[in-house]
């Protein structure tokens, strides 16, 4: 809203109606040019590198099916890290979101504090959280689950708060007028109105979290990512390709499942 307001000040006459798009285009081109320089983009490297890639593909196929049983446990770990992290994240995000929504927050101080907590949890990437928790509680799936849950609090807290803020306040007003108490109004008017949206967002988060928990293994936080890293370091490319196939299967299944469940709660 504020951005739109800045872009077009009211509906008044715009003296620089022609110049503005031109200037915008120019700024964009300059930005793009400096980005190309900074990332040292050399498309020709892709061509000369074809050889190495083909070689890698040859060494990675066929996928080593015999390693499949070894991949089952890490795969389960990956899914469970995401599941635990999401559920814990939802449980922590709910009360925070109620405090961080302008229309349900009981006090300005609590509003600001919860907004701060949510923003901080979101600003730090889950990979960084995982590094921190690995240092704190040691290697394994638990630091991964902790990282996922903390980062989820940041993502979910903000979305939950937005859902609550967008809610129709009519029923809240109506129930308040019947002489019901604050908590009663909350549980009878707010909760039923927002619950389906919150469930949908939570399911979407679960899907996202399965994808991030795959990567968390790279920093020692358990799961299939850890296996992938080990196989890479040992140049076992046929194991790598198998693990990538398993990963692909997990991600697609999670996406499909989450989408199907979200359709049901909508």
């Amino acid at each position: 809203m504020s951005v739109a307001a800045l872009a077009s000040p009211a509906d008044g006459p715009r003296p620089h109606g022609r110049a503005l798009p031109f200037l915008g285009g120019f700024v964009f081109l300059v930005l793009l040019a400096q980005a190309t320089l900074i990332v040292q983009a050399r498309p020709q490297d892709l061509v000369t590198g074809v050889h190495g890639m083909l070689d890698m593909l040859r060494r990675a196929s066929p996928p080593d099916i015999s390693k499949l049983p070894d991949a089952v446990w890490p795969a389960l770990e990956t899914v469970d890290i995401a599941l635990f992290g999401t559920v814990a994240g939802v449980l922590l995000a709910l009360p925070l979101a109620v405090l961080a929504a302008r229309n349900t927050s009981p006090a300005r101080v609590l509003y600001a504090a919860s907004r701060g907590v949510i923003a901080f949890a979101r600003a730090v990437p889950d990979l960084v959280w995982a590094l921190l928790f690995v240092t704190a509680v040691g290697l394994g799936p638990f630091p991964g689950a902790l990282a996922i849950s903390v980062h989820s609090v940041g993502m979910l807290g903000r979305l939950f708060a937005e859902v609550i803020e967008d809610m129709d306040m009519g029923p809240v007003e109506a129930l308040t007028m019947t002489g019901a108490g604050r908590l009663q109004v909350f549980s009878h008017a707010v909760v039923p109105s927002v619950l389906p949206s919150l469930l949908g967002i939570g399911l979407y988060r679960l899907d996202e979290n399965i994808r991030s928990s795959l990567v968390l293994g790279f920093v020692g936080a358990g799961g299939i990512g850890f296996q992938l890293l080990t196989a890479m370091n040992l140049f076992q490319y046929r194991t790598v390709s198998l693990l990538l196939l398993v990963t692909f299967g997990l991600v697609v299944t999670a996406e499909r499942l989450s989408a199907a469940l979200r359709r049901r709660v909508a």
Binding site: D168, G170, P171, E173, A174, L175, T176, M177, T178, G179, A180, G181, L183, Q184, S187, H188, A189, V191, P192, S193, L195, P196
Partner: protein, 255 residues
């Protein structure tokens, strides 16, 4: 006999715009509603009709004057005491304000929450002992068979009747209605007006209703109050109100 709703010399000054010392929405309004009386307030937009209702329901705190509902002074109450005092007042809004995802019966039953402040109801449970009472309130508005249906599936007129049933479930002594038919088609509007008059006459409720349709007011109200620029300009039986008097409410306001 003491009145159910007694408004005495009410003044409401909104703080905006501050440059002009605020906007005077109500300027010394006195109104009283007796049990079993159906009173309708007419007035143009900005005449202070809604402000008056909101002051009576203590959604707004008036700048001066007093509001008594069933003998209880409303203007100084807060928190728990205010919630308790509001039990005597049922409120009906322009939109039904139902919880769309819950059943019709659950919505009606919510009207009784104020009388059952328990842990179970605070956590989202309905007071079971009130279910049959809620059902009978639904009967009163003629929607018995809709009890298990989701509130979101109702038409506008049905939803408004359910909201009246919710207000009745509260066992109020008086009803306040803020433009209850403004977003309904003519037939549904007639139905709501008949219903409000019936609960007023048969249940002995005092009803104070804000309307935009002078013609409906004339046919259903026991008394018509005219509000213009925050002042009460007439307060008479429908027969005593001349068409010109009503028309004057809306004249010369298009600023």
């Amino acid at each position: 006999m003491s009145a159910l709703i007694e408004v005495d010399d009410l003044v409401m000054r909104y703080p905006t715009p501050p440059s002009m010392g605020g906007r005077l929405a109500l300027n010394g309004v006195s109104v009283s509603v007796q049990p079993g009386e159906f009173a309708v307030i007419l007035g143009a937009n900005g005449s202070g009709k809604s402000t008056l209702l909101r002051c009576i329901a203590a959604m707004l705190r008036p700048s001066a004057g007093s509001v008594r509902v069933d003998g209880q002074e409303m203007t100084r109450l807060r928190g728990r005491a205010l919630a308790k005092a509001r039990l005597a007042l049922g409120m009906i809004f322009q939109h039904a304000h139902l919880v769309r995802r819950r059943s019709v019966l659950a919505n009606v039953c919510c009207g009784t929450l104020g009388r059952h402040r328990t842990l179970a109801t605070a956590l989202g449970g309905l007071p079971r002992q009130e279910l049959s009472h809620a059902q009978s309130c639904l009967d009163q508005v003629g929607l018995r068979s809709f009890a298990p249906q989701r509130a979101g599936t109702l038409s506008g007129g049905q939803a408004q009747r359910v909201s009246i049933a919710r207000a009745l479930a509260q066992r109020p002594r008086a009803l306040l209605a803020d433009e209850p038919v403004a977003s309904l088609d003519p037939e549904a509007a007639e139905e709501i007006m008949r219903l409000l008059r019936r609960v007023s006459h048969e249940e002995g409720l005092g009803v104070l209703c804000v309307l935009h349709q002078p013609e409906l007011a004339r046919r259903y109200a026991d008394r018509i109050l005219g509000l213009r620029l925050g002042k009460l300009v007439f307060d008479e039986r429908p027969g005593g109100v001349a068409a010109g008097t009503v028309g004057a409410l809306y004249e010369g306001l298009a600023a």
